[in-house]
């Protein structure tokens, strides 16, 4: 039996605008600006900077075209990701967020550093670029967030096919309710992240530098939101919730086609650990190598989470899903 051909990713025109059209326009901004400012800029212009000031110079074309090329490569890759693998909203969000964020950041850096050189005869006389970098970073984050927000969420698509006869089931009485609760965690990341937070707090207290508490809070939030998840299978479906409560991923029971146990290799299949988009547009919380619970969802979507005893979770999810298909 050949597996059914998954349906094409939805919202392809929106994805094309968010990952290709707007990012390419953003990447082209420095080209236009460079042309307009050409007469006021020194030749060569500064393109590389150290703490002491500019330390790398280039012609104006050499300053703006490589940046455009980087932006174009990022935009085209993100577009391909969203267009071909973007069956899940999360994949389209990652694509739109990275394409818009990266092109906005790069263009802001180029335009900002050129602006500092306007009216100079020797680019070596320009000041520091710290403020430009900070501003560009903020612009990049804002563009990424805006892009992710603009992506339309998946429509609710109740599965219509019955749960396959080959799916593992649990012996559950007709009126019996069941809940399976477990954890997905990365002990290594928890220990390392925790140590970093403790070190930052200790430094902040010892050196009486209270502003060091800010990065400690940021790191703690990142660790709590990405290394420890509660995984629940119940009458509502599959819920994967971080220790902070957010992010939270839900596969509603009526969208479950089949759940099964898989072996996951984070580096080769997902390019790393954490909340990831994998080959083929599979998304998941992948915190270690090995056993994982994978849910095939309506619309050709797959969600995976690394847990122990995934067989019990898969069997319960199949059993509860089968109940919703009757009548």
């Amino acid at each position: 039996m050949t597996p059914p051909v998954p349906p094409p990713a939805p919202y392809r025109s929106v994805s094309t605008v968010l990952t290709l059209v707007v990012p390419l326009a953003l990447a082209a901004v420095p080209l236009v600006v460079a042309r307009a400012w050409e007469a006021e800029l020194p030749d060569p212009v500064a393109v590389h900077f150290s703490a002491d000031g500019p330390d790398g110079f280039s012609s104006l074309a050499g300053a703006v075209w490589p940046a455009f090329a980087i932006g174009a490569v990022v935009a085209v890759s993100a577009w391909a990701l969203a267009f071909f693998w973007g069956r899940t909203a999360q994949v389209r969000r990652v694509a739109a967020g990275s394409a818009l964020g990266l092109t906005a950041f790069v263009s802001a850096v180029v335009v900002g550093t050129l602006e500092l050189q306007r009216g100079l005869t020797d680019a070596a006389d320009m000041g520091g670029v710290g403020l430009v970098l900070a501003l560009a970073f903020a612009i990049g984050i804002a563009a990424a967030a805006l892009g992710a927000w603009a992506v339309p969420p998946d429509a609710h698509q109740p599965a219509t096919d019955p749960v396959p006869a080959t799916a593992a089931l649990l012996d559950l009485g007709p009126g019996e309710a069941a809940t399976w609760v477990t954890h997905a965690e990365s002990r290594t990341a928890l220990v390392v992240g925790g140590a970093v937070v403790v070190l930052q707090v200790a430094l902040a207290l010892l050196l009486t530098l209270p502003f060091l508490l800010l990065p400690a809070v940021v790191v703690a939030a990142i660790v709590l939101s990405s290394t420890w998840f509660t995984v629940t299978v119940d009458r509502r479906g599959l819920t994967v919730r971080s220790a902070l409560g957010r992010p939270r991923f839900v596969v509603p029971l009526d969208e479950v086609q089949q759940a099964h146990v898989v072996a996951v290799s984070p580096l080769t299949e997902f390019g790393g650990w954490g909340y990831r988009v994998g080959r083929g547009g599979r998304v998941g919380v992948v915190l270690r190598t090995g056993e994982a619970l994978q849910v095939e969802r309506s619309g050709g979507r797959s969600f995976v989470v690394t847990v122990d005893d995934a067989a019990t979770g898969a069997a319960l999810l199949n059993t509860l899903a089968a109940r919703t298909r009757i009548g």
Binding site: P174, G175, E176, A177, A178, T179, V181, T182, T312
Partner: protein
């Protein structure tokens, strides 16, 4: 771990829940310091009354299986213990009872009587 409640069973729901936690601890599936889901969370997940879960948790606390802490929920306090001999004996019991064609209810009744 797997929690299940069957309204068709003769055992009350809180007894079913408490029994499952006890069994999970005995099997080594739940270890010392592990946290059980919050009572409110578990009740809404199973679509049962909050007081049913609280009653099960209170029973387990009175037996010293879990500790109930404000803000931290229910934490397993069972010391690590090797129960492999018991599991082997239970497996043997089940096998023998099945091969003799004895009904599960009869077998559990015999075990309950012997434990008295």
């Amino acid at each position: 771990m797997l929690f299940r409640v069957d309204p068709a069973s003769t055992d009350p729901l809180f007894t079913q829940l408490a029994g499952q936690v006890r069994a999970a601890v005995a099997r080594g599936e739940l270890t010392d310091g592990e946290r059980l889901p919050g009572a409110r969370e578990l009740a809404s997940s199973l679509d049962i009354n909050l007081h049913t879960v609280l009653r099960a948790y209170q029973e387990l606390r009175d037996e010293g299986v879990i500790e109930l802490r404000r803000g931290r929920g229910a934490v397993v306090t069972a010391p690590a213990q090797d129960n492999s001999e018991l599991h082997a004996a239970v497996e043997t019991l089940v096998r023998v009872a099945r091969s003799l064609g004895i009904a599960p209810q009869t077998t559990t009744a015999l075990v309950k009587e012997a434990l008295r």
